[in-house]
Symmetry: C2
Subunit: 217 residues, 2 copies
DNA sequence: TAATGTTAGTGAACAGTGTTTACTTTCTGA
DNA sequence: TCAGAAAGTAAACACTGTTCACTAACATTA
């Protein structure tokens, strides 16, 4: 996506920028935004704290880039599943569960991506540039899939794809956030049915899809 | 709930403690945990910053109390709905939508209640003391309601109430978090079906309940 | 009542944060 | 070669939560 810039100076600059981002990524993935301090980061890459500000105008901007490239990862994965030719029912479920799986693979990233209202556009599609944003494109994939379900009769005919997509997204978001914040989710007491995380994700996705399904009677 | 303590000194102490909490609550509701600083808080109540530490061992402890009493509010409301004798279908929907409505009435409180893994126990019922915690009791209300739905045949018979409650909670949590973080959620573009927040909450709840419903064929 | 001990409250400091400013060094393009 | 831009830095600013030594007020007991 990034075109190789011509000037050697510029190339070197981008290299250093990337090194800062890479070091930041490592710390961020382990400890989140609070654990990532400019001074620590500067020490890691043997620069002075002020040097970081020659490459990023603020810590927020730096973290925003981490979040953005993380959401690119989610988008890639979701797209990959959405573009397969497996039967609709499986494809829809895979698509949703993939979102959660990738999201919780980097809990701090995911939580942060939604935590700061300032950072980037949220999943609200009346904002300018939403369709171009990573979140916007992920949302559109989801909406398209639901529209397909309505068309082929798998989903209720009175279901508005945009609304349903927002609702389904909220449900996926909820489980992703739960797992991101509570590492042991969903744990169950003795005497109750136990279920591993992976299986529970599938169960949750199934519930969400069932909510949209059409039923002939 | 709080018993009036005997000693006048102790009574005065509790009064000041309550005043600190009340001042903190106001700032927290408006600006969240980051906006609430010990120095600002101390200035508000005309005390020195160090004085706060005679009443709370840390800022976290103070904020935890705000979160706890907020979750008590959620629990009260949910309980009130759950204990009515309205038909099951309506009662279940009201219960879920009430959770979201109360949650988003204080977005910062709700987001913070789940943000810090440290603060209080999460909705993971194998932790000790979960059943006694506010979250635990709210969870049990939800599970009981789902169990009732299974019993009367409104919900699928193969639905495990504990698992379903966790899934439904995650879905409610997702929308609550969305609204908490993105004040304009769910906004829709022109040309798409528009829906106000209140109506969308009902729509979302309906989707979740549909996912649990039984269908005779 | 007088002495003692406990508690309330404070100012100053510590260690940490993001960020800016003035400055020097290094590199680059004409 | 030389002016100008860019890279990099040390030191400071304005914050943050928190602790410590200290004083003043209160409570309890001899």
């Amino acid at each position: 996506m990034t075109v190789a810039t011509s000037s050697p100076a510029e190339r070197r600059r981008n290299k250093i920028r990337a090194r800062i981002l890479s070091a930041a990524e490592t710390v961020f993935a382990r400890e989140g935004a609070e654990g990532l301090s400019i001074r620590r980061l500067a020490e890691n890459i043997d620069y002075s704290p002020a040097a970081i500000y020659k490459y990023f105008s603020s810590k927020d901007e730096l973290v925003d880039e981490l979040k953005e490239s993380f959401f690119e990862l989610i988008l890639e994965n979701v797209h990959r599943i959405a573009d397969t030719s497996t039967p609709f029912a499986d494809r829809a479920r895979d698509c949703l569960s993939t979102y959660i799986r990738v999201a919780v693979a980097k809990p701090h990233h995911y939580a942060a991506a939604f935590a700061g209202e300032s950072g980037g556009t949220g999943p609200v599609d009346n904002e300018p540039g939403f369709d171009q944003s990573k979140k916007g494109r992920a949302f559109n994939v989801l909406r398209g899939m639901i529209a397909e379900g309505v068309e082929i009769g798998a989903f209720r005919s009175d279901l508005d794809p945009s609304l349903a997509a927002k609702s389904a997204w909220a449900s996926m978001h909820g489980l992703a956030m739960m797992i991101a914040h509570i590492p042991t989710y969903p744990a169950l007491k003795d005497g109750q049915k136990t279920m591993a995380r992976e299986a529970f994700i599938d169960f949750h996705v199934d519930q969400v899809v069932r909510g949209m399904e059409a039923h002939d009677e």
